[in-house]
Subunit: 651 residues, 2 copies
């Protein structure tokens, strides 16, 4: 069932060194601050944060400590995602301290594994006789997925097999429990994730049964009679309110996956599932699966995605809702969903190297994803709103999920380690390759060694992107070689220019699916200069998006902007943007770690109202001119807490 | 503790005949359609409606039928409010059929009364040993209040004492259970309502203990230690989510009532409580209570009321939220809360005859209150939204309380009978009097006989208000008499004119608190003509109301307007109102029972978008001219279901 070479190949993060630019600083932050901090949280050494107990759960399951399980049923995954992030950091270079911590917890994890390979601290400690009885909500397969991902990454980073072996034993055991064979359960995970993990495990080990098991989970999903319905009937009185309202859609189990054409239900489950589907499509060349992936992708990005790349329109079920329903204030836009959307985009780029995917990957990365972590690396957003009214978040039930400051930790702490593992592995999203092509999806200051049908090609990007519109790309190669270097021309960019060794290239004839294809015989030391003019732009939403009608957002390059109260005073809703006003960008090296700031001559509502008036008959409202200051969306909530808004009324 | 004559007196609905104008038609609808229909529902004779079981509960409690209780714990009140509405209809003239039905159910109610006077079908059938153990949520005192109100009205309408005696027996028993004496419970109702009812019972019977019991409930409320907290500790594990988030505020029990200055919690509970406080203030002259009432009133109407007069900003706890939080789409604006706000306004007019109160009473009446009943009298809104997106109501949890069509009946059916009793008694809200003053609060085609320090004064209003701006008021009197006729000059009206016997009066010197005071020696047959020019006006909301910033609403006279999809096509949010466009009113006798329609040259968003675009860089949006048609808000959802919006974007 393989047809791999139809597709472009990804590049291992091991091959990429991200230098000290925009993302280089983030990787340094993850390595030096976020991962040590998260280790302390996972070991319950931070006082002013939600308790984690995650490592303790493993110790209890391993028999090393007495005690009870604490946390959500998937508390284990916090440790696994932390380990995965550590692995990516170790790929970039040694860090004895992190590696020691990782080995320490891997030893405990190994001890927590049961004789038959089973590994899940919740069920081991709390309900040992309830294994696999609640596949819909129990998260056992989801936890296994994160363990597998981490173990593969750690093996690839360090060459150490212990954790990988633990994962294989568990995967082998799962393979005996689920599937089409006699005495096997015909279930599949309520929370997807193991599908993509098993493909990774297959690629790391070469063991095909992992691929088949993943394919089984994908193929089985949503068949009639429905496994989840049978499971509930057999097992329990169902009190799940989400189930009552959203039904099987919540779990993406309402239809077989090849019949699913719209993104439904819990957005993180959905996006992990779609990523797994894409993986299976890549490994098998399954055209119907590719078609489904393309339809689901299209539904998300043309109907259900915020301008920041965030997905998930409501806290109820943390879910997608319906086309064009994108409220800014009761939004969900979970950090994990953004991470997952990058996963999905990255896989779609393997299937079809088209800037439709990489433009969105960039959008998510620079906006809704990195919004999830504070500039100091120790605070995290679960929900990434586009409009914040602090008093409403405090007092209104339907807005209480919208926090106005990032949290030290969370009761359900899926996001902090997820953003850490994404940023630690950012290098792998820059390129994909085939035998004679190098696709450049992202512009990131970095050095990479690529293997092009046996030849080593080094690519060095030098840039201050996303602040600077210039990227210098140097090609180093032992001997001349013909191949195509494809450079993404971002959708936000008009008038891109490309120079090879100072000579401008005519882009008209060489643009393919959003990429400039530079096909030539490359020599060592060739230099490509890419200029992507970054005009500050007004963005409007499709008129179907009721929340944004009559409103405008500001973007420069890939960066979406917002207004914060700390810069513009309270009552941001009173600010209106005139249609014609100039938008000026200036770099402020002292602000928020150094950001491009956008200033605009705007207007502020200025009619006089007394405290006694709630409504009045008024012929015309008054406005006064005011200069407003926009900052990059991702950097909001790093100063005094207050209001924030992305979409501004126009007049 | 009496000081009654400080205050203006209300007028019994018995004294007022509402003729065949705007409200005359509503009364006819209530009498001929709504009450017979509701009787059938209460007796479970309507197939396509939510089951009621309300009469059946009484039959079961009375031992006339076997069976179990069905419904909410306060299901009894549907019958009581129906009886109260019937009483008002009977005051206006005989209706043997309605009276027979009323007597029939009163007989059953009497039989359901327990030996000690207790009367509540839920507790009698379901939990006889749990009486008074959950005063916070059990609604026993609330149910008693509605019974008392109905019994007084029925006694006043028919002179029959049976129901009144039942109520007195229950009230006497309650008086032995609650109060400051030894062995009495120091509780007060979780859902207020009995306070105002007991004052009514006192006034009907002269029995002071009812007044004292009411005053006890008012005075005791919110004292520390808190009764509800003690009750929960003593009785049960508390799983009430609303309690967890809103606490004692939900019940208006967070402070003693005289320390409450802002409207908090469940809006119907709040407004019934404030009405009861005003009643006690009127009966006792308690200045601190008057001050509290004024502060609470002011907080509502200057910070927490929709333009339609609706109150309650969120479905969570059906509650008030905080100042200026008035979302149009997740709104509550329960019909019962509007009815209650009219009660409160009516009482405040006794305390202080000021158009601040009567203007709001009119606003609520013509907009958020009558919006609660369909033009055919058989369908009812619980929630009265200001903006409706049908797909969102169907699919989004936080909007599912916003129905797009009125319902045949409701699981919690408090609103249908509440709007019925309000409309059936509308006559009593027109005037209040003192020894030598007649305050005219409402302009309603009607005839009234008033007793002015012994003299009978007949006032006849002839008008097609609210469509016509002219009201003819004739005064009939046996012999000349000096008194003041005070006529409200509505806040929405500029350039009001008043003529007495065709001679124009200069209003400059005679306007007092929003009323024109016509003090003179009146002769039989004197005619006053009131002209209240009704220009179609733009209304704006205080800029603190974020939901309405940059938006405008349309009002003519007291009537607030809206756009409906059936007149203007889908995507109403794409319609923008230019600041300068003309607003034209025309009466359409064939539309919605005859309404004034407002036409406006507006603009509709016209930029072209493909199905693939969700966001784009666009210099300027395009608009095309379009004529839009506004209808009165109260009349929406009487044709094909679809979108509706009150606040329109301006540009």
């Amino acid at each position: 069932m393989e047809s791999k070479n139809l597709f472009k190949a990804n590049v291992s993060p091991k091959k990429v060194i991200v230098n000290d630019g925009f993302f280089g600083k983030y990787i340094e932050l993850i390595k030096k601050v976020a991962l040590p901090y998260q280790w302390d949280v996972l070991n319950d050494r931070i006082n002013n944060a939600e308790p984690s107990h995650a490592v303790r759960n493993f110790k209890i399951a391993a028999g090393l400590l007495k005690g009870d399980f604490y946390g959500v049923v998937f508390q284990d995954t916090d440790v696994f995602k932390w380990l995965e992030a550590v692995a990516y950091i170790l790929m970039a270079g040694p860090d004895a301290e992190l590696e020691n911590k990782a080995d320490e917890v891997i030893n405990i994890i190994e001890k927590a594994q049961q004789g038959d390979g089973y590994l899940n601290t919740y069920f081991t400690i709390k309900e040992p006789d309830k294994r696999w009885t609640n596949i819909r909500d129990g998260h056992e397969l989801y936890c296994a997925g994160h363990m597998i991902e981490a173990s593969v990454a750690y093996f690839e980073a360090t060459g150490k097999r212990k954790f990988l072996d633990v994962a294989c034993r568990f995967a082998d055991y799962i393979d005996t429990v689920f599937g089409e064979g006699p005495d096997k359960k015909r279930g599949y995970p309520g929370h997807p994730g193991i599908e993509l993990a098993l493909v990774r495990l297959y690629k790391a080990t070469g063991e095909k049964k992992y691929l088949y098991l993943s394919k089984y989970f994908i193929d089985e999903r949503g068949k009639t009679p429905n496994y989840f319905e049978l499971e509930v009937e057999a097992d329990r009185e169902d009190k799940n309110e989400i189930w009552k309202k959203l039904g099987l859609r919540y779990y993406q189990a309402h239809l077989p996956v090849r019949s699913q054409t719209t993104a439904e239900g819990h957005s993180v489950r959905a996006i992990y599932l779609y990523s797994g589907m894409a993986d299976i499509a890549i490994e098998t060349g399954d055209k119907s699966l590719i078609e489904s992936c393309k339809k689901l992708w299209r539904n998300i990005i043309t109907k259900k995605m915020y301008i920041t790349g965030g997905i998930g329109s409501t806290s109820f079920g943390e879910s997608f809702t319906f086309n064009y329903d994108l409220p800014n204030d009761t939004i969900y836009s979970e950090t994990c969903a953004s991470v997952g959307l990058i996963f999905f985009a990255h896989r779609m780029l393997q299937i079809d190297p088209n800037s439709n995917y990489s433009d969105i990957m960039e959008k998510v990365l620079y906006n809704s994803a990195i919004s999830g972590i504070s500039l100091d690396g120790k605070k995290f957003f679960y929900v990434n709103p586009l409009e914040v009214w602090p008093e409403a978040s405090e007092k209104i039930k339907i807005r209480e999920h919208v926090k106005i400051t990032r949290q030290s930790w969370l009761r359900c702490a899926c996001c902090p380690t997820n953003i850490a593992r994404l940023l630690a592995s950012i290098g792998k999203y820059i390129y994909s390759i085939s035998e004679d092509e190098i696709y450049t999806h992202l512009y990131i200051d970095s050095e990479t060694e690529l293997d092009l049908s046996g030849s080593k090609v080094k690519i060095k990007q030098e840039t201050k992107y996303p602040w600077s519109e210039r990227i210098n790309i140097s090609v180093y190669i032992d001997k001349e070689k013909e191949f195509s270097l494809l450079l993404r021309i971002p959708g936000w960019c008009d008038n891109a220019k490309i120079f090879i060794n100072n000579e401008e290239i005519n882009l008209c004839d060489i643009k393919v699916k959003g990429y400039a294809r530079l096909k030539r015989i490359w020599k060592n030391g060739d230099v490509v200069e890419v200029v992507l003019p970054m005009v500050v732009q007004r963005v409007r939403a499709h008129p179907g998006v009721r929340a944004d009608i009559g409103k405008v957002a500001i973007q420069r390059g890939p960066i979406v902007y917002c207004l914060e109260e700390v810069d513009n005073g309270p009552n941001l809703h009173e600010i209106m943007l005139p249609v014609k006003s100039e938008l000026n960008a200036d770099f402020d090296k002292n602000l928020l770690g150094g950001v491009m700031v956008v200033s605009v001559q705007a207007e502020r509502y200025n009619s006089k109202w007394t405290d006694d008036e709630l409504y009045k008959f008024e012929e015309e409202s008054e406005y006064r001119p005011v200069t407003v200051k926009f900052i990059p969306y991702y950097a909001w909530a790093n100063r005094e807490p207050g209001e924030m808004v992305v979409w501004i009324n126009e007049r």
